[in-house]
Amino acid sequence: MAEIVSLKEAIGSLLNDGDTVALEGFTHLIPMSAGHEIIKQRFQQLTLVRLTPDLISDQLIGMGCVNKLVFSWGGNPGVGSLHRLRDAVEHDWPCPLEIDEHSHAGLTNRFVAGASGLPFAVMRGYQGTGLDTYTSTVAPISCPFTGEELRAVAAINPDLSVIHAQRADRKGNVQLWGITGIQKEAVLAGKRSLVTVEEIVDELDRRPGDVILPSWLITAVAQSSGGSRPSYASGFYQRDNDFYIAWDGISRDRQTFMSWMNENVL
């Protein structure tokens, strides 16, 4: 059963230096406050897994917490580059960043395989692309029935998977709704899992299309109101698009970025 703990305690007890940590949330419900807690506790040499790195990865990379990134689309949506990610890849600042790069479909299937307890997933893709050449976690495989050449993508099983959800009840059952992305698979693939939530309530009243993750699938739940900002939590607050646009200016320059992090996160 999930333990209900503070965010500080959860990150402190569930994460170790050098771990592979997935922070998932597809535009919606990005676990920002959990990422900030990782920065505050100065974790290092992490392998960070996220389909769409977004601002939280830019911050973790810029603060030197990450030495490998597993991802499939690393931009600031609708705005442009993630400058800290670019600076790390292009100029090794603040430290060299190894990358394991996929398509969304490929990384998605790596989570599906991890959640399924299989060593790999099978899909049609990658052939003819540069990703097929540069990524070591994809390999050719023949269909045993038809002989069709397909691609295998290696399972991913993070040491810790973190997601943000709207609610949990006092037993630690978790409820999320709206765009739920790859979060269920991320939790199921994780060796340990942490869910931050907007609120903890007595009873979960069901919503159309909601996903319920029973308490016994989750290691820990921590309340973190506003824990997705500037991403959004459907039913609680909207995406702060102005901040996503402003991040371009904040993150472009190393000094400006460090000052912003010192003032707002540390």
């Binding site: 479909a105 003819g128 269920k184």
Partner: protein
Amino acid sequence: MESTEKYTSDEMMSIAAARQLRNNQICFIGIGLPSKAANLARRLHAPDLIMIYESGTLGAKPTRLPLSIGDGELADTADSIVSVPEIFNYLLQPGRIDIGFLGAAQIDKYANLNSTVIGDYHKPSVRLPGAGGAPEIAGAAKRVIIMLRQSAKSFVDKLPFVTSVGFGSGPGDRRRFGLTGAGPTVVITDLGLLEPDPDTKELVLTNIHSNVSVQKVIESTGWKLRIAEKLEVTEPPTATELEAIRSLVSAGE
């Protein structure tokens, strides 16, 4: 009715792209230029265009242009929201999508796309965002429409990285790579339209937008561009089209 108003080359590009879309087509939409053109088509001749975004929103009907593929506006107006594994494995991979609508940083003469790096992969001069959903959209959609601004830097002889396959190095490569869709049928730019030659699959300039010279298009292409024998001139934007594109409001505005 042709408008007497002035218009920008970006407006012409979005309008030319919107004209390619038809009512009830199932269209998998990339963010940015494709999203703007698809939403324009919905306000003009294709109100029942079925828009799918990779965040899992099926049949989204946004009133404002989304900044991201996962904006709340898309979720709130969708017929259904599915998980990311479902959108790629159940909807895209089996060929249920009519049109994949993609942008990119660079394209080559076989309509292969790069959105990954400029320069060497391990020491890039510019690190671009990467693949996202594009490679499988380019592979599995029944056909693909591509949209990007045309210049000698974006229309290149050799891509530093192939993120998404158009026709590989020519006829037969899509089949060889196991790609089930027919591939790109048109590339829409701010200067004109290019279509693959049915035999060689090389992109050929088939339309130029009015007020654009053929010389300008040639100079804005990094390979020796083939020009169609019957080169058409794009109809300029109508007053209705211009009014519709100028009334599109972006998220946050």
